[in-house]
Symmetry: C2
Subunit: 365 residues, 2 copies
């Protein structure tokens, strides 16, 4: 067995283990790659590490760095003096297992066949994603995190982590997420998955290039639709009077977004990850929600967004009520904006305030 | 020119005019068919007619009759002693132009070619639908309606009618609708339209049978997703823990609904009607919303549903505010249920109460 960590040209790190990685299903990956990035400096006692759990469609590049000056997906939130302050914290973001930005997933080579996995990549779970990250942190010698910070699907990893590895973290920030797959979300994701699969160009996952997958573009458009609130669509196209939808700005905007997305994201990864979301239930294996939640030792912050139609405020309220009932030290913030699910990406000043206060323990006595 | 009205086996009437029907676009249909059903008795002074404007996916069969005992789509709402009381009112429901339940639309024969229009049916507007219904009512000698009652897309016809034919109606009930196409709705419908069109079996609208159109089934599933609120999905699948989405109840439920839908509805009609919704703006041609709304002489009831993610309460509030500002005699009801957009079909007792009171003028002094 050998584990290596290699610095890459863009400043990210590639953790590679040739030890078979056992999945919750009992299957094995014959090797494990995880790409991650870090910002700030790990304290000598290793007590200042913060793991950011990223959402479905992005990777480990949370914010820019000297090696990679490209703006990250949460550029305003992480950095020197920012809410997740890299002068204080050692921030780590790991590309999720199953994704397509360097970590093991459908676009990886299957060592047994010498070919890409494509659709033969095994079905994985959110727990598998967490377990792989625990391996990496063990390798880095980090026994306990100052915090995990997760949004949307990322926060599914955060809460699973808090329950399954309760001693390994002090705080968990969960925003716009769910502790289990809800029927409406399963329904929505199924429509997206079907859109990918009914496209003849998909070819059972052995497509030439994602750029030509019209079904995948449709899936992205539906994703986009759910990330925004009606008011946000209004703001964007306020003065718009569409003569025909075909040539309208709204359709162009969706087309542009979908074309851009399929150039960077992989359709098989999309299927792998959304299926992991479908089967997610952090209380599975426990006799009650309360039994599951009561394992948590971390302080927890739950944030909902009023007009989030994807992970509705009701889902967050149910999570918070469950945590409270189980005696978890937790705090709830109901955020109001016009942005819907994507508010955490857009209203970074307000979310930054919440997170800064949380990391400073200001919500707790 | 000849106009005929023929009673059909199921009790519905077929209004047929061989007079070319001029569309707002300037194009003509070389003939016009409208299928409609009636319940109750027209008063001698013809003052008790109520037109029910149906939504996207249904037809003229609002409620059962002795000729057609099948349950209608608003069975609980229309009938002797019910909210829309057929002992008092002469209720008419006309299948919308462009639809596929007997009125002129893509499944009709184009008299010029002797073949079905299919995708060559001209682009129509909500105003065209209204204009066609006005022709029918003129033919029936009904000069003024007691009320129009519209839900969802049906209420787009109702409000257009109230503005363009202000003397022809006394009351307009508008529920879960919009006075113009909103960007989020255009986006959502475009995804559905694209799903139909990317399917190779669609064949530019010359498909063999809708039953084999996987893209059309997807479009229906997305429609269904938006008609329900997250809480309603929870209620339906509450105890459900899905092992994989592929074999889950949720997916089966959507598949069942989609299979059923494509057996009765036509994909070209779906494209025709949803495009008419995309281009809808009842204020178009007026210098301001207020100028348009101030043409209304009818009393208006606006109803919103709290968790409607399709036609959001904000859209209804904007409509109501516009009507009030324009001096329209109007009343607003904010309905709260767990059902989302479909509440008007499900919570018929409550909606029945609202409509009964409205028809009795109880909201007005």
């Amino acid at each position: 067995m050998s584990v290596t960590i290699e610095r890459q040209a863009d400043g990210s790190y590639l953790f590679s283990s040739d030890n078979p990685f056992k999945l919750v299903s009992g299957e094995y990956l014959n090797a494990l790659d995880l790409v991650y990035e870090t910002w700030g400096t790990l304290a000598e006692d290793k007590s200042n590490a913060v793991v950011v759990h990223h959402a479905l469609s992005v990777g480990s590049h949370v914010t820019s760095s000297s090696e990679n000056p490209d703006a990250g997906w949460w550029e305003e939130m992480v950095g020197a003096g920012k809410a997740i302050d890299t002068d204080k914290y050692f921030v780590i973001c790991i590309n999720n297992l199953g994704s397509c930005f360097g970590s093991s997933g459908p676009t990886s080579i299957n060592l047994e066949t010498g070919k890409k996995y494509n659709a033969s990549f095994p079905e994985i779970t959110i727990a598998d994603m967490v377990n792989s990250q625990i391996l990496l942190l063990e390798h880095l010698g980090i026994k306990q995190l100052y915090a995990v910070v997760g949004n949307s699907m990322g926060a599914m990893l955060s809460i699973a982590w808090a329950i399954e590895y309760p001693n390994s973290l002090q705080r968990a920030m969960l925003s716009c997420t769910a502790y289990k797959a809800y029927p409406a979300n399963i329904a929505n994701r199924n429509i997206q998955q079907s859109a990918i699969r009914i496209d003849p160009a998909w070819q059972n996952g052995n497509y030439e290039s994602c750029s030509s997958l019209e079904g995948f573009k449709l899936a992205r458009k539906l994703g986009l639709y759910t990330y925004r609130n009606s008011a946000e669509w209004n703001r964007r196209f306020n003065s718009h009077k569409d003569k025909t939808a075909e040539d309208g700005e709204i359709v162009k905007y969706m087309d542009y977004n979908a074309e851009k997305f399929v150039k960077t994201f992989d359709a098989n990864s999309y299927l792998t990850i959304t299926t992991a979301m479908d089967t997610f239930d952090v209380t599975q294996g426990y006799v009650s929600n309360s039994e599951a939640f009561s394992k948590i030792k971390a302080k927890v912050l739950v944030i909902s967004e009023k007009f989030d139609i994807l992970f509705t405020p009701q889902q967050q309220q149910e999570l918070y009520a469950g945590l409270e009932e189980a005696g978890v030290n937790c705090h709830y913030i109901s955020h109001h904006s016009q942005y819907g699910h994507d508010a955490f990406l857009v209203e970074t000043e307000k979310f930054g305030g919440y997170i800064r206060d949380f990391l400073n323990d200001e919500y707790f006595n």
